[in-house]
Amino acid sequence: MKLGNLWRHLALAVVAVFVVAACGSSNGSGSASCSESTAKTATSVTACGGLDALIAAAKSEGRLNVIALPRDWANYGAILDKFTATYGIPITSDNPDGSSQDEVNAVQQLSTTSRAPDVLDVGIAVALANVNLFAPYKVSTWGDILDSQKEATGLWFEDYGGFMSVGYDSSKVPTITSFDDLLGSAFKGKVALNGDPTKANAALNGVMMANLAEGGSLDDISKGVDFFHRLKQAGNFTPVQATTATVKNGTTPVVLDWDYLSAAHGTDVPTWKVFVPNNAILGGYYAQAINKNAPHPAAARLWEEFLYSNTGQNLWLAGLARPVRQAAMQKDGSIDAAAAAKLPPVNGTPKFLSDAQATAAKNYLVAHWLTAIS
């Protein structure tokens, strides 16, 4: 790098700091600019000279790289399109069906190249294990997110989630009212998980839901594994991973999955029902994080501002995911009430896996899962 260039960057950074200081809490005058180096370290929109400056900086970067966002998952298709339509910034969406770990692997392997993902949407376990890869950032609506749902400095913050559920095609199987129904002969080869629980978060939570329904606790998943052992013995557990295609074609008429993913099958299968057992209400959220080596740092931050705006949150809700600001938005009336009414009803107190509990469950599954179902 030429020395002159360095000075120019430094000067810009100094100017930006003064602008931010001058603007104070007045939240940006719109005339300030947000250079690349400022954007890289900006921990809030004000640190980048306000929303208009952030938008301008993101537009001049001209692109946003996202990864592992399936278009049919939590309404991401509409969210990606809306972002591009609003800001005119094209999005490169890599490996849409990848796992959280694939996202982290991409961040490490692509490092500082221009193809590296700017932003991540990962499971909590992966977020906690990789905080050294993230840049701290607090969205404008930071205050609406509960303290238990974010890292204090903004390295990661939960985005959307839901409850584990039993989704089923009521035209193919009898109505399900309790977990033990699944062991019946009407369910031969019909019950599926969304992935392998030693690998996929949704599947691990599926086993945990079975565990809670069978009287187990969050600390010990063994009853859930035992349930699947019996399910396999009865010939009811199918080894096919449930996807939109297998549900549509009827290969997996009963799926243990997050309610927001399951409810979305209703568009393909009108007789699809989603049931959240009262004795096993298990909640789970994903988290957003910004890659600290993001090739488009301003676009990455603008993406987060967009996701946590009322528009972004309501788009997730329209995809039947429960956005993290849902409670606050319900209070101030900015929630899309029609979309909220479509969520499957939940009666009871939801339980959430702590990090230690998730680790204990994972360790037990690694040691016992494959022998239990083979």
Binding site: Q101, G123, A129, G189, D196, T198, Q241, L370
Partner: protein, 301 residues
Amino acid sequence: MTIAGSPAVAARVGRPLAGGRRFSLDWVGTLPFFVYVSAFLLLPTGIVAIGALFDANNAFTLENYAHLSRSFVVKSTIDTTVVSAITAVLGAVLGSLLAYAIATGNPNGVLRRVSISASGVLAQFGGVTLAFAFIASIGPAGFVYLFAQSHGFDFYAHGIWLFEPIQGLSLVYLYFQIPLMVLVFLPALDGIKPQWREAAESLGGSTWHYWRYVAGPILFPAFLGGTLLLFANAFSAYATANALINQGAPMLAQQISNAISSEVGAAEPGFAKAIAVQMIVIVTLVTILYSLLQRRTSRWL
């Protein structure tokens, strides 16, 4: 390969270097090949084999290799090897019969051209598409099964064998193994000249004699080579198996995937490398077995 007879070499040989040792530059020609093999085969193998000796904190450990004795890895090793062997042998036999049918037909005929193009396409038709094609046709909700069931023929009455590793995967893999064998075996069959058969017959040989002493010995190495290729092809297949049987990771390639990209925090990259080394060892063993068999049979035939 030798070029000792060429004048240029002879001239050089006639002028020994100091110390009497001949200096040859013949090996230079093989350099690109060895550089290529080192960069894309030996180096990755070395990285994987050595990487498996370290844990997540880069400390030396033998645990990753010790974990290969986990019961599910052992089971998956057996299943993978059995499925690969079954589909290699069946694929080779059926594929070579089909290739023979094509080779004896009209060399410019429509049937031959169609069969070869179809084999070219089908040999590459694998992965999620193929698995789903089977699920959608003969799966438990597939239209073929539902039709058969409604006509009193319930071929899943004793369990859904399509989702059992050995039966299910063998059936699905054969779909691309047979056409692949056709592609690799047809050139060998085309090399057989009809005059040889005529010669054998004019010398009083029967059909059995012709196959036993003429065509058989010529074709057998190509047949064995094709079988080995099919074995390796099935052994390393991943996407098809994963789409058909996701739970329990019955194939070794799926075990590697599970160990690399677990999003529940069960990622063990070192263990994944150990499994990869094990796969390399098995394929190497099969290759050695193949070359021994090749040498042995050349003596029998």
